[in-house]
């Protein structure tokens, strides 16, 4: 199975995935991106501010980007 890499950017730092994950095909890689991005956001959003965004760039073994995704959290205070 081919390797795919998932670089995650959280608006401040970008973390390059140098390990990668084996996926059947690009669809499986995209579906992995759908799993990991919300999981990372769920874990990290509560520890930070009211505006956060997470993006993932999926690349194949040759380094070609094949998929990207973004999630954002926007919290608004209504009592201030």
């Amino acid at each position: 199975m081919p390797l795919y890499f998932f670089d995650v950017h959280d608006g401040i730092t970008s973390l390059r995935d140098d390990v990668g994950i084996e996926c059947h095909d690009p669809e499986a890689a995209a579906s992995h991106a759908k799993e990991i991005l919300p999981a990372i956001a769920a874990d990290e959003v509560p520890r930070d501010g009211d505006r956060q965004s997470y993006t993932v760039l999926v690349t194949d073994e040759e380094g070609h980007p094949i998929y990207s995704a973004a999630l954002s959290f926007v919290g608004t205070w209504l009592t201030r």
Partner: protein
Amino acid sequence: MSQGARTQAITILLAKLDSIAVLSDIERQAIQTLPTDIRMLAAGQDIVCDGDTPSYCCLIVEGWAYRYKLIGEGRRQILSFHVPGDLPDLQSLHIRTMDHSLAALTNATLAFISHESIRELTWSLPGLAEILWRETLVDAATFREWIVGLGRRSAYENMAHLFCELYLKLQAVGLAGEHRCPLPMTQGDLSDAMGLSNVHVNRVLQEMRAKGLITLRNNTLVIEAWDELIRVAAFDPTYLHLRKAANR
């Protein structure tokens, strides 16, 4: 197999039992005469599989092992990591059929001890039966901590907790000190233990490094800020039931 490996097996088993209980001289001598079958396994090799009905238990003499369940589509949950001195399938003495698998995490030396020998030992020395029971209870206590971690701790807290646990377990059998210990698992193993993706584990490790909690190099974990790591994990070593309190 070499006498050296057997001596090493008995030494590490005694160190392990000493860490959780007080052994009498007679119990100590009985352990020393326990027949063992020493075998080497390669990293990744299964020791005993889900559904097997083994007639022996194993003692880890050198290297690491892990217990796991496979749940389809290549998904794996690692249930526990095991270090030298552990008897990770002791339950098979009383529960015939394995309900999970046990594999070598690294190249490992194992001492297989037949159920028959353990039964003889525990029938003749009930005190040893109690100590082995205690060992499986500590094992269960560790699972309870993992449930808390998987269910309620953040990834960052849970990773910190795991590092505290592994360090103290290794220290108890003399395999770690000065806040430094071997950590031979891959990022993939850590993800399967913590229910996270590889990428997520990588992020957590980077954050721990950036905050000066740990460094990881050549499969060695260096805890740079033990007190802070304990604070982050809200780590309470009671569940390990080690006789000597956690040594800072």
